[in-house]
Structures are given as structure tokens and as C-alpha cells.
């Protein structure tokens, strides 16, 4: 666990690093993989022929992965078309096609799935509903940015939840990033304001701003977030703005509404999909990519400081479908 101290974290970090990204992502998605592919393989083994029943079962698999009804139907339509086009007759070949279809649906071409840190300064605003893992994500994100050679500063913008500021402070210590904080209950916009000016003064390259978790149907709280975003815009015009929505992979269809509504007050540039180390499959990012065109940029696969992986649609779907 991470309470073993910083040095241990470091050695673990090096150890996992040698395994390479692909391996680690696969490891992180291990459960997902076993569950999904286990079923998929037994499904495809059982069928020699491609028939309606096969498609129905695949449809069920996607629904169970939270892909949602509409996106599942779309995926099935594409799959069936491909099966016809390729004149496939053997069910085992369907898997490759399904992978292609899912990757295609998941990929957001224009925006790209990489977090762009080329420009200094960059300010990253992290938003989301309660309990999705925003603060933890920021802790890992700080470490990630530092690894890219950036000087990182954190802003404790969650002044509402009890303990949130302390939690961020601890993450700050782990990655040696300074944390700008006010009292609990103070105006989050003021914290962000201070953090911007502090970041400017100290010539920081990446400023990551935490915000309180809020349900997207709370008008006042969403307005507050809008205000925070406007402050970033006004006080830090030279900075490249990145707004990351943190989504819990266990979330169901409501995630679409979350992405839509958060995007209305602070235009989203990416999604961080957390808690993928459980049994949830996070299929909800497919309809989100489809309807909103917001790319996933990171996946969270554990509580360790380096358990944040840059997102790659190919790898994601492969890790889901390959054993």
C-alpha cells in the first residue's frame, strides 16, 4: 500500500515501468479481460455458425458492459454489415471484427486521446460528480506530468467536502508538488484565483485544479463551476486549457448526462475513466465518444501513484477482448 512511504512507491514504479505500457494496461484491465473474453470465447467456441443467436448474445455482452442500448445497436449494425461484406462464415472470426467496430466507435479523431503538454503553461481543471475519484486522479496526474518533465502545482478547489483539502495535500507531498489551499468552506473561485497568480509568479508549467464533486443537475453548483472556468479564462489567458471530466467506470447510462451537462458549463477536452481495476467494463465511454465526441485521455487502474494510464482505444479494446 502507499503508506509504506515514498521510496517504496518509487521502486514499485520502476518495477512496473519495465513491463511496458501495454502490459500494464492489460494488467489493469485484467479482470475486465477475463470476464469479457472468457464469455466471448466460450460464446464463439460454442457456435460454429454465425446466426441471429450469436448476434443476440454479443448484444447482451455489450449491454452488460454498460455500452448502452443505442450504441450497442449501432455496434451490432456495423458488425453485421462487416460480417456480410467479408462473407464470414466462421463465428471465431467475428471477434476480430467486433474489436475493429468498437475501436472505430471509440476513437475521436480530431481531438486525439493524448494529453497535450507541449505548451507552457497548461492549466488542467478536473471536474466530476461526487466520489468518482477526482482528487486521487489529480494526485496521479501530478506525478504523470512531472515524469514528462513539468513543474506542477495543485490548487485545492474542493473547499466543500470534509477532508478533501488534506487529501490533496497528502497527494501533493507524494509527488512534491506545492498545493495552494484555503480554509474549508471558503470560495473555491478565490482558491483558483490565488493559485493562478502563484503559478505565474513561480513560473509553474502545469497547474492542476481540483473542484468539489457535484451532481450535474444542481444548478447552483454548476454555475459555480462555470464561474471557476471563466476565472481561468480571464486570469490565465496565456495558458492552454484542459478540462478533464472524471468518470467512474462503474457508472451506468447517467454518465452520458454527466458529460453533456458538465460540458455545458466548462467545455470538456477529455475524460479520465477511473476504477477500471474492478469488474466494471466502462463501456459507457463508447456512447459518450459517439454522441459528444469527447475523447478519453486516461484510465485509472488502481490506487498507486502510477496507476494512471494514457488512453489508447486500440489497447483498451484489445485488453478487453484479448486474453
Amino acid at each position: 500500500m502507499f503508506f509504506n512511504g515514498w521510496d517504496n512507491d518509487k521502486s514499485e514504479q520502476q518495477e512496473t515501468e519495465s513491463k511496458g505500457f501495454f502490459q500494464r494496461l492489460k494488467e489493469g484491465l485484467n479482470k475486465t479481460t477475463k470476464d469479457f473474453t472468457g464469455k466471448l470465447d466460450s460464446l464463439l467456441m460454442g457456435y460454429g455458425k454465425i446466426d441471429d443467436e450469436l448476434f443476440e448474445e454479443l448484444e447482451e455482452l455489450l449491454i452488460m458492459a454498460d455500452v448502452g442500448y443505442d450504441a450497442t445497436m449501432k455496434a451490432m449494425d456495423h458488425l453485421q454489415k462487416k460480417v456480410r461484406d467479408h462473407r464470414l462464415e466462421d463465428a471465431s472470426e467475428v471477434k476480430v471484427l467486433l474489436k475493429d467496430v468498437l475501436v472505430q466507435l471509440l476513437t475521436v479523431e480530431e481531438a486525439g486521446h493524448q494529453l497535450n503538454l507541449d505548451q507552457n503553461p497548461t492549466v488542467i481543471l478536473v471536474v466530476g460528480v461526487n466520489g468518482v475519484g477526482k482528487t486521487t486522479t489529480i494526485g496521479k496526474l501530478a506525478a504523470y506530468c512531472q515524469k514528462q518533465g513539468k513543474r506542477v502545482m495543485l490548487a485545492a478547489g474542493d473547499t466543500f467536502r470534509a477532508g478533501a483539502i488534506d487529501q490533496l495535500e497528502i497527494w501533493g507531498q507524494r509527488s512534491n508538488a506545492p498545493v495552494i489551499r484555503h480554509q474549508e468552506g471558503s470560495d473555491p473561485a478565490a482558491v483558483i484565483y490565488d493559485a493562478i497568480h502563484s503559478a505565474k509568479a513561480k513560473d509553474n508549467q502545469v497547474l492542476i485544479c481540483d473542484t468539489a464533486g457535484r451532481l450535474h443537475n444542481k444548478k447552483n453548483l454548476m454555475n459555480e463551476l462555470g464561474k471557476i472556468f471563466r476565472i481561468l479564462d480571464r486570469e490565465y489567458p496565456e495558458a492552454r486549457k484542459e478540462v478533464l471530466l472524471v468518470l467512474d467506470a462503474t457508472t451506468g447510462q447517467n454518465a452520458i448526462q454527466q458529460a453533456k451537462t458538465f460540458g455545458e458549463v466548462a467545455p470538456l477536452t477529455g475524460i479520465v475513466l477511473t476504477k477500471l481495476d474492478g469488474t466494471a467494463r466502462g463501456g459507457i465511454i463508447i456512447p459518450i465518444a459517439q454522441t459528444l465526441g469527447v475523447p478519453v485521455k486516461f484510465v485509472g487502474v488502481g490506487e498507486q501513484i502510477d496507476d494512471l494510464q494514457p488512453f489508447d482505444p486500440e489497447a483498451f479494446v484489445s485488453a478487453m477482448l484479448d486474453q
Binding site: M64, G131, A164, D166, Q167, T250, N254, G278, T279, A280
Partner: protein, 448 residues
């Protein structure tokens, strides 16, 4: 409106089937497709949906359509009954140990809302004259203990903690001792959020359970959870054992199908729901409300219930015909008044119908006390006067007023109102025709 979907679709599906006596297999199959979609959209687990649909199908096929209902409403009624049965028909409360302190243990995934729920539950039970102690057994998440302490100080409930270096099992044990020493009759243990597949941490929960023998283990579940809810609930239920569920973040706009999934796989009652960030936004769980939230049918259900119990559909149909042909009489008016009295105010009824807004209702404000007078006035009219109000002249008005114990002004007012009602009904009839063309909405009752 987000929640109108299913009811509307079912109405449309069944429009063409109006007047059939029994639900056929084909009818039900078509309807079940819509129900299935609604449930999947609400995040009810696929397997749970399948089971549910099969059960409803079995019950619905061959079912007699109640005279007062359309086939669509009949299906909704069955779906809702089955759903409420599955959700647990009654409210379920937490239990207390006969030898205090009563110990509750909160368990769940990360971010489900355990710490907040601990505070809310302590606050609720404190109001019921309990003396709670909160025990901070989450030694993993940074600042989790601070969070519980802040929550505790807000509600003036002490928090027992031993830092992050101790074994949670020992913390829990020491917490119980502390409670006994200080006369607390209730202990709520906040455990760390954990993945249900993390065997070490699941073992830890088992060990705490063995050490302190809690009265209840409460699983905290985020109401926005998707298909995975069954895996989570199943694992916690199998590996640790749970006695009840707390459903959090229900103040969001999720349909909350996870509630049904969790209930279906654990068979344990949902005891409380978290409805907001404030410490007192914590309520007992209402199975019926949750059922209609998941189905997305809002008040259509209560409308069906009311209609079922009180509207005589044949009379309503006759009335409709009269309305259309402008032959609406005082006799019909009286009839309608009596039915309205059974059903509650007309305005209430109208408001429950999706698509009918406040605008049309403005002129409709009838003082319910006045209804008694209205009845008396109509009853003092002759048959001719009732069918043909045009004949009511000055002397007839005088007679009616005297006969009903009212004033001429009141009689005049009623005559005027009657005329208005006739007009209004014509409007509604026209509106309904228009709506049929547009296909936008349809009044469930031809009579109103």
C-alpha cells in the same frame, strides 16, 4: 419531461388495441420490448431485466383488461405491481441490538458515499435519542479520518480514531470498548472503500465482522451504478454478508436501476437513501417511489390507481360522446361531480396527465366546498331544466334557489359556470383531436 417515455410509448403501442377484452401474447410481447428498453436505459442489470420481463409476461398474457383501463394501462399496472413486489413492498428499518451498543458497519466501493452516510445515519438516529459513536476504520484513503472527524463535529457526534498505522480490526474492537466505557448505545464503523475483488481487503471486512459482531452490515451503493452493480452486491453479500443497503446520490437525475439489480441479487432491503450533500438529506426508502422512478412513469401510475378505483368507464364514454355532440347536460354535470369527488379534485387529476400543462387548468379552479351547493342546485332542477338549461328563466331561478337553500346569485353563477364547462370541454375535445393528429399526447380518459 424525462420520465414520460415509457408510459407514452406503451399508450401508443396499445392505441390500436383499444377495447380488447384480454391481453394476448402478441400484445404483451410488443409491450415488453418497451419495458425492457426502459429498464436497460435505467441501468437495471440485463439478467435481472430478463427475469423480470419473463415474470411479467407470464402474468400478463391472458389477463383480463379491467374495464376502466386501456390495455396499455393494464400492462403498466402489472409491471408496476411486479416491480414494487421485487423492490420490497414495505419500508424496512434498521434494527437495534437487545444488548447495547448496537453496532453498524458500513461497507462499499470507493466513492460510494460511506463516510457521508455514516454521518447522516448517526445524525438521524441521534434525533431518535440514540447516543452514537463513529469509528474511523478507513486507514487507507488519505484524509479519510479527517473527513469523518469533520462530519462528526458538524453533528456533534464523537469520532473514535487511532491514526492510519493500526489494523482496522483492532481499531474497530477498541472503538467498541470506547463506546461501552462512555455509555454510547450505538457504534457506526466507517470502513475503507474497497473493490469487491480485492481479496485481502474483503478478508479484512470479514475479520472486523468476526471481531465486533455487528447488528447490521450496510452496503453503500451509488445509485448511478451501471450493470456492474450485481457483481458488487453479490460479492459483498457472499464474502461479507449484508443486512441492508443504503442507496446514495439519489438527488441526481439517474433513474437508479441499480437499486433493482442490488435488491434482486441480495434479496436484502434498501433501508435508506441519500438525497443530497446536507447532513439531514437522508430518508427512509420508499419501494413504490423507486419502482416508478426506474420505470420512468412519474405519476401516471397513481393516475391508474385512482382511475381503477373510481371511474366508471362506460359512463365516461357516454359523456365523451355527449361532449363531442355538445349535448352535455346538468345531469351529466352532476354525474361528473360525483365521480370527481371520488377521485380528488379535477385539477389534481389533470395535473397527473402528462402533457397537460397549467395553462388549460387556470379556468378550472373549482372550490370544492362549492360542489355541495352545486349538487343541491342541480338536484332542485326539473328534468327539463337539466337537459335544456336554456329554459331557466327568472322565476325558475328563484324557485331553484329556494329549493336548494342557495341564493339566486349562486344559481346564476352555476349557470355561467356550466356554460364555461361546456366550452372548456369543447376545447379539450378539439385539443384531443389535434393531439391525435400530431400524435403528441393523449388524454388517458376519454371522459375528461
Amino acid at each position: 419531461m424525462l420520465f414520460e417515455g415509457l408510459a407514452e410509448k406503451l399508450q401508443n403501442t396499445f392505441d390500436k388495441l383499444k377495447g380488447k377484452g384480454k391481453l394476448t401474447e402478441a400484445d404483451v410481447k410488443e409491450a415488453m420490448r418497451e419495458v425492457k428498453l426502459a429498464l436497460l436505459e435505467a441501468d437495471v442489470n440485463f439478467k435481472v431485466v430478463k427475469d423480470f420481463i419473463n415474470r411479467v409476461k407470464e402474468r400478463a398474457v391472458g389477463d383480463e383488461v379491467l374495464e376502466s383501463l386501456t390495455p396499455g394501462q393494464q400492462v403498466i399496472k402489472i409491471v408496476n405491481e411486479e416491480m414494487t413486489a421485487l423492490m420490497g413492498s414495505t419500508q424496512s428499518k434498521v434494527t437495534f441490538s437487545s444488548s447495547p451498543p448496537t453496532i453498524y458497519m458500513m461497507v462499499g466501493l470507493q466513492g460510494s458515499g460511506k463516510t457521508t452516510s455514516c454521518g447522516k445515519l448517526a445524525n438521524l438516529l441521534k434525533k431518535q435519542q440514540k447516543k452514537p459513536l463513529l469509528v474511523a476504520a478507513d486507514v487507507y484513503r488519505p484524509a479519510a479520518i479527517e473527513q469523518l472527524k469533520t462530519v462528526g463535529s458538524k453533528i456533534d457526534v464523537p469520532v473514535f480514531s487511532m491514526g492510519t498505522q493500526m489494523d482496522p480490526v483492532n481499531i474497530a474492537k477498541a472503538g467498541i470498548e470506547e463506546a461501552k466505557k462512555n455509555g454510547h448505545d450505538l457504534v457506526i464503523i466507517d470502513t475503507a472503500g474497497r473493490l469487491h475483488i480485492d481479496n485481502n481487503l474483503m478478508d479484512e471486512l470479514q475479520n472486523i465482522k468476526k471481531a465486533v459482531k455487528p447488528q447490521e452490515i450496510l452496503l453503500v451503493v451509488d445509485s448511478m451504478t451501471g450493470q456492474d452493480a450485481v457483481n458488487v452486491a453479490e460479492s459483498f453479500s457472499d464474502k461479507v454478508g449484508i443486512d441492508g443497503v443504503i442507496l446514495t446520490k439519489l438527488d441526481g437525475d439517474t433513474r437508479g436501476g441499480a437499486a433493482l439489480s442490488v435488491r434482486a441479487v441480495t434479496q436484502k432491503p434498501i433501508k435508506f437513501v441519500g438525497m443530497g450533500e446536507k447532513i439531514d438529506e437522508f430518508e427512509a426508502f420508499h419501494p413504490d417511489r423507486m419502482a416508478s422512478r426506474i420505470l420512468g412513469m412519474g405519476d401516471v401510475l397513481s393516475l391508474i390507481e385512482k382511475a381503477q378505483s373510481s371511474v366508471d368507464i362506460k359512463k365516461a364514454q357516454e359523456l365523451e360522446k355527449k361532449m363531442r355532440t355538445q349535448q352535455f347536460t346538468f345531469d351529466d354535470f352532476l354525474d361528473q361531480l360525483q365521480q370527481m369527488k371520488n377521485m380528488g379534485s379535477m385539477k389534481d387529476i389533470m395535473e397527473m396527465i402528462p402533457g397537460v400543462g397549467g395553462k388549460q387548468l387556470k379556468n378550472l379552479d373549482v372550490d370544492e366546498k362549492e360542489l355541495v351547493y352545486i349538487e343541491a342546485i342541480i338536484q332542485s332542477m326539473t328534468g327539463e331544466e337539466r337537459t335544456n338549461p336554456g329554459v331557466i328563466n327568472g322565476s325558475r331561478r328563484k324557485r331553484i334557489a329556494a329549493g336548494s337553500g342557495t341564493s339566486i346569485q349562486q344559481v346564476n353563477k352555476l349557470l355561467k359556470q356550466f356554460e364555461q364547462t361546456r366550452k372548456m370541454m369543447k376545447q379539450f375535445t378539439d385539443m384531443e383531436k389535434g393531439a391525435k393528429k400530431g400524435g403528441k399526447f393523449k388524454l388517458p380518459f376519454p371522459g375528461f
